[in-house]
């Protein structure tokens, strides 16, 4: 599959952006109730060398997995609208648990308010659905720099 990003050449310079300077892969927790989005993020990130350490289908599960795997999670992608526990609450709890957590919100268009709230609560950045490969990687790398 040739994604838009490969053609722009942006990623060429940062080939393996999913690796830490030490060469270890960056471990990601994907929290999203949509299998579709989870699959897409997995695809985008795996191709760059990230390792998907775990996935969770709602905020509660996401929080539990984060605690369980801590400190072996480097990055969390957090959907906003989810059953049981929404992404903003999950983010808040994760930040309480680990104030250095790197959480990036995944939002549908039109959820500006919640994204702003998340950013003020400590989310490092956000990505907007529908996901665009280049932008996802751009925003994730800005969080990791």
């Amino acid at each position: 599959m040739i994604a838009k990003g490969d053609l722009t050449g942006i990623n060429v310079s940062r080939k393996a952006s999913g690796l830490k300077p030490t060469g270890e892969p960056i471990r990601v927790l994907i929290v999203d109730d949509s299998m579709f989005v989870t699959k897409q993020i997995t695809q985008i990130l795996s191709s760059e060398g990230f390792v998907i350490a775990a996935t969770a289908a709602d905020g509660k599960e996401g929080l539990d997995k984060y605690k369980e795997l801590y400190p072996d999670i480097d990055l969390v992608t957090m959907d906003i609208t989810m059953p049981n526990m929404d992404g903003v609450t999950a983010l808040e709890k994760i930040m309480e648990f680990d104030k250095n957590a790197k959480v990036i919100m995944v939002s549908a268009l039109g959820k500006q308010d919640l994204v702003k709230k998340s950013l003020l609560l400590g989310a490092k950045n956000y990505i907007v659905k529908p996901l665009d490969r280049v932008k996802v990687l751009e925003r994730i790398s800005s969080v990791l720099k």
Binding site: V37, Y126, K129
Partner: protein, 794 residues
Amino acid sequence: MSDYLDPNNEELLNDFFEEARIQIEQLEQNILVLENDATDKDCIDELFRAAHTLKGAAATVAITELAELTHVLEDVLDEIREGHCRVTRPVVDALLVAVDVIKSMVDCRMEGSVYRDQGVEELKTRLHNLLGDAEPDSAAPASSSGSSENKDEAAAGDDSASVLDEDELTELLELLESSQKLFQIRVFFDESALMNTIGGIQVYAALKNEGTILKTTPDFEALNEDIFHPEVYYFVASQSDIPSIRDLVSISDVTTGSEITELTEETLDRLRENKKESVTDSFESRAAGSETAASPVDSAETEDNSGAAASQKKSAETVNDKKGSKKQSQSSILRVDSKKIDSLLNMISESVINKSTINQVSDVYHQLITEFRSLNSKMENEVSSLFDILDDYPVSSEEEDLPQKVRTLRERCVELMDRYDHFEDKFKKNADDLKNSTQKLALNTGSLQEGIMQIRMVPISTLFARFPRLVRDLSHSLNKKVDLILEGEDTELDKSIVEDLLDPLIHCVRNSLDHGLENAETRAALGKPETGTVVMKAGNEGSMIVIEVSDDGAGINADKVRQKAVEKGLISSDAPLTEQEVHNLIFLPGFSTSDTISSISGRGVGLDVVRTQIEKLKGTIQVTSRKGAGTAFIIRLPLTLAIIQGLLIRSATSKFVIPINSVIDSHRILKDQIKLIEGREVFKIRDELIYILRLSRIFGLPPAKEQRVSAYEYMVIIGNEERKLGLIVDSLLGEEDVVIKPLKDKYSKTFGIAGATILGDGSVSLIIDVQQLLERVQSHSGESDYITEEAVNE
């Protein structure tokens, strides 16, 4: 792109449909404005914005066919905006067709299918052709980034310290902790970014970790609103340095650049210097109105500068407001499932009933108190007479000489007298409290009810908005020139009514255009302006909404109508009808005067259907017309269907509610004033004969036990100006607000009953269906039924 979408996100889809509806409306309305004034810049901008929004939204939910079409549409609109494409009739037509296709696409998606029509490609080509030589690829991002670049340039010339005045800067510098520096960080944002209103907060959040944010311009509240700010100033106290801050605020896809300045005491000095100069430059420009002069600078200067700064700021704010107003008004609207509101309304209705119950309980308490008081005073009297008897005991003897028993008795009597006084006070106080609370409760439930009703109210503009397009298309196809005037668009009415009002209104308007207005030549010959006028007017009249559709056309030709009605066997040729009555014939089923059945009015639906629809909404429709001058349809509707004012009546042992807007009059009449004509009971009021129905007979009610022997009957006249009947009831009980509860399926077809309600005392009462009673009186078959029924009863 579609692979990335979660197709199951119903909420997102619903949001999209709502968004699409708004944008389509925007498109349609503005295209029509554009048709009349091709130079209306705001309108073109609005159109472009709507197409752009729609395109983005469609892409989000992966409705590609729509995204593609709107993309082309956006290109055309951009060309128009840039002045490369003139707004001609073919252009407007093509745009309108595009809007229609967009509507169909959205409708299909709502039904779960996808719009596929070969016409779409054709349409796209048609739109493309409008573009001419212009580059088809969207110029939108380019132009928007272009404009932000312009802003950058313009801003670069500014004095970097100018956003703060001296006082503000002094204040900020005082807030600094040791080792902290004050930075002014000016950040430019990318308008083309998705959700571009987040940027201000995102940078805020990033800076928050680097130091203390002392101030932002625009302020935090403004950043938190859903408005795009092209640039924001942050004033941060931090130990960090410029490069790391720059790094922090450079967020790809969010910010486009930044200017970072360290503000120090020297900046403050420089600021003061500059001000001094500017003051000496322009002495006469001093502003009046003093501010506190916290600095050693002479106060006149401070005034001048703070005044200037304030006015500068103000103008900046107005610009922002203007930009944000549209978005803001949209974002402050909360979408709620109407079912939720209905269930709230239902609950509050129950509360209204409960309130009445409590009210009655409270009244009972007060009666009880009065009763208790009289009982108590009776008892006191008796005790006192007992006491008196005791007093009759030999008076001569001294108190101490009285026998012990008598003394005890006397003491007990005194005690008895006061025994319940304390209780009475307490009882009274509580009953008063109850009454007060009940009154408060009544007020609260009243306003709650009103508030919830208010939520259900929508301006009629949502309905009227459909008409400019309709009239335009119709007038083109009929080749008539028509101006449509909309009045009272702010008039609000219940959402449930609005939805059912569209068809009848369309029908009336079509009727006006098709049958009412003459073509241009005829009008010219008659000395009328060539362009006909149709006015749609809405307004309130008490608790009713009045909607009028009027035209300045030919009016109803009474002779023609009469002739048609005779031909169709609707009336006998010698029926003595007033002109108004003849006009009303057009509402009869199967009536159509148009010589040829046109595709516009003659869709097999006559005005009788309109009447039925309006009556279903508990409304009335009237027509008034003057030959040669025009016709007006006047529709009257209740504000809401859920709660009505009812006249409570009793017939035999049952209570019934008659909707008050159907009650014309009530009379106490002598029994022998009721006459029999052709076996039917009638009553004569002035010169008018009114058929009479007896509720007790209609519903086969047993006569009340205590057979009243009275020479009088109570008659309620119900109906409307044209059709009325007298309803004989046993007594009138008063008016009450009642909440209509629909009857369960099994009973919903019960003749004469529109629904049920629960009265204040908790009993159930049926609501009379006035329309059905009127129909029965008019229909001949109904009459015979009625007679038989009567015969059986007797």
